[in-house]
Subunit: 460 residues, 2 copies
């Protein structure tokens, strides 16, 4: 196929007509898009056709690879170890990456992590890290590799030259109503991971009201596609489906989530956050060959909390990326909100609901989220949860604390989103499992099955 | 709805999800597209969604009206009479507009005709007219109205400010594989007719190998949609479905089709071309209230041939649009091809097939067609058909004449496309009717039914 033979229109027409598009054609379509000979308006027609007619696993894999190859690919081969990354589809209070990466690194598995920013109701790991004074997330490829080599892990943003096709396609999808497509989501997530040099990947697909996908069946389909396409591309991939019908942990915001993450590394993490961190972390250790099975991996991670080695890794990372490590010892060094409003419980009973979406909307309303990509965020504001889902409460006890930039904002969200988010019942609610399933290349398991399996070859 | 409330993405999302899009939303989407706040890449996503999910009749009508209103609309109200136009979806040898419009005008019904150029295998009326030395088809709105008022009809191209949304959308559809969509074809055709000020419209939907739509069922669907949407928009609309499994008339090219058109106006038209011209023309006279029924309309048109008044109208038009009227008396004034190659019949029998697509490809190969919009065409080249479908032939008799710019080109197409296009059989082929059906707002009729009906109120 020579350049003059390549007709972008015929690639669009094939997808329009549900005909197979070859890997070669997809590769040419993406490289021509990056080079400018496939236009934005041809790309959006293709994306809408892909949205409506779907992509096969092979087409999604070819698309993912082409997107990964559209820019600079990090070469991490000279660093020892299997490089493992983790990706979450985003949730409320989901700060897991922040304590997880240093714990995994402390257990000897390198983690080259490229994270994103918050938009809408979900917060972003980069934004949270930047609440640490001085912390830099904009790293050159050389910085990224140097920090990874020196600390054992690194946390950066997607640089301009990492999978540029993905960045441009995502921006086009955003304004043409083609975001919510499973194959397009899969290729966007995986292309960045392949470009950053990850060899194994643990995915956390959130489902529930606070997640991108509220529906469990759809979350499961996404998890399966991620594992299928990741595996096709030679990435060792496992996906968790976890609950996002409640916020994760006890803090929603930026400073407050960093503080909670530090607490976890000091052995004071809330149970749900700890459970998810240990589950994802043990899978990362198994895939990265830092443990033979999930149970021994879990023990190693717990030891890295107990002996402070996880916290030490985080300290090194903060130092390496220009942040003030003093916040690990005294969280007062993080941005603090001037106004605090404690919401008290109005009756005796049990916390029957904590709607994560409404709590997230409260934080956005307080200034701690972005409605549009260009919005600035206030890292100091947020919500602290004193009583989690299912816990007993007494009338007059503190239920939540609203951290705000001014009094009026705190009172406004207390009377609106926060009031609507919380429900106290006479009876304790039935508690659904936090981990709803584990998808491996071979099968779908429950978490108990996965833990019992002691699977060889890293959760294959 | 204020400007800041309008979200193009939500319009795209509704069409993506097969939800109803309101006329207001479609109108805003198109006006914002023309103004620049809806981008090309949003338009192509919408067009692909419309291609795959369809548009309702109401949505198509709203889209058509918005496109018609996107630029300057001709105001022809001060001219007397019901303005009637005709549109063909394009075929091989389809020069019908050229003799039709002056005949209808000679019968007292004004015809403001906006035509197109040829692309691919179909020729364009404008290109054919421009083979007349000096003939101008680029008319200002004032020229257009002046010629219409003075001559009783006018033949121009789509000016920059006539339905600009249609022109831009068509260009985008062309490169994003969204041409072959019935509602998008309907809105493109009708928007220009409404913008040019037509009040009634006769459509010639071609079907067969030489047509845009080879399949009769699909051609019928297009005809029904054109009539339904035209009627919704207050345009008196009737559609014919006519055969394009053979070329129309005895000439394919530019100069040669002008010569054949002049011949028809002089009473020497080939039977198939005459039949289509009279059928479409009689419907135009009925819709334009220049006749009460199809039979009396047909008589009036035949009289306009017999008394030379149709030819006189054409002469006036050529003069009014800057062309040399001398060609009406001596066709040698039209561009003439230097090389002529006569293809003789190789056996006795009957012409069993004349593949219109292959003949058209031969003309394109000779330089008489455009492969791309920017190509120049040679008006002198073409093919003359001496024996039409079903006619008896004897070995050694001339079957076709190839008119070429050079000898080698004539021999090449004679040995390739032309040889493959013609088949001579021992038995005469079964002849299918030239007019396959007539679609009115009320019903689908055969041509015989339509002629017998003497319908009141113009084929309603």
């Amino acid at each position: 196929v020579t350049d003059s033979d390549f007709a972008p229109r015929s690639v669009i027409a094939k997808k329009r007509d549900r005909l197979a598009v070859s890997s070669e054609e997809i590769s040419r379509f993406i490289s021509s898009f990056v080079a400018g000979s496939v236009t934005d308006y041809q790309m959006t027609a293709f994306l809408m056709a892909a949205f409506l007619n779907g992509l096969t696993g092979e087409e999604t894999a070819a698309l993912t690879l082409a997107m990964a190859q559209s820019g600079r690919r990090l070469k991490l081969d000279r660093l020892p170890g299997i490089k493992v990354d983790k990706h979450s589809t985003g949730g409320v209070g989901d700060k897991v990456s922040i304590p997880l990466a240093p714990l995994v690194a402390a257990c000897g598995v390198p983690v080259p992590m490229v994270s994103g920013r918050g938009l809408g109701h979900t917060g972003g790991t980069l934004d949270k890290l930047e609440s640490i004074p001085g912390f830099r997330t904009r790293l050159s490829a050389e910085d990224f590799e140097r920090v990874l080599a020196g600390v054992g892990y690194v946390m950066g943003g997607q640089s301009e030259d990492l999978a540029p096709a993905d960045r441009r396609m995502y921006a086009l999808r955003d304004v043409t109503a083609t975001i919510e497509s499973i194959p397009l989501i899969v290729s966007s997530i995986l292309s960045k991971k392949i470009a950053e040099g990850a060899q194994a990947l643990v995915l956390d697909v959130k489902c529930g009201r606070g997640a991108f996908m509220a529906d469990e069946q759809r979350a499961r389909t996404l998890a399966r596609e991620l594992v299928r396409v990741g595996t096709l591309l030679g990435l060792k991939t496992v996906a968790f489906i976890t609950d996002m019908d409640r916020p994760l942990g006890r803090a929603v915001g930026h400073s407050v989530e960093i503080e909670e993450s530090i607490g976890l590394l000091k052995g004071q993490g809330p149970p749900d956050l700890l459970e998810i961190t240990l589950a994802l972390g043990s899978a990362m250790l198994v895939l990265g060959e830092g443990a033979n099975d999930l149970e021994s991996a879990r023990s190693r991670l717990l030891a890295a909390i107990a002996d402070g080695s996880g916290l030490e890794r985080f300290r090194k990372l903060v130092e390496a990326q220009g942040g003030d490590p003093g916040v690990l010892d005294d969280p007062a060094g993080l941005p603090q909100a001037p106004y605090k409003l404690i919401v008290e419980c109005e009756r005796n009973g049990y916390v029957g609901d904590l709607d994560p979406l409404l709590l997230a909307e409260a934080v956005v309303e307080l200034g701690g989220g972005r409605r549009r990509v260009e919005d600035a965020i206030d890292p100091a504001v947020g919500i602290l949860i004193h009583r989690a889902l299912g816990e007993a409460v007494k009338k007059g006890e503190p239920l939540l604390t609203i951290l705000a930039a001014w009094d009026e904002a705190a009172r406004r969200v207390a009377g609106n989103q926060v009031r609507a988010a919380v429900r106290v019942d006479r009876e304790p609610p039935p508690l659904t499992p936090l981990i709803r399933g584990v998808v491996t290349p071979a099968s779908d398991l429950t978490w108990d099955e996965a833990r019992a399996a002691k699977l060889q070859g890293g959760l294959a």
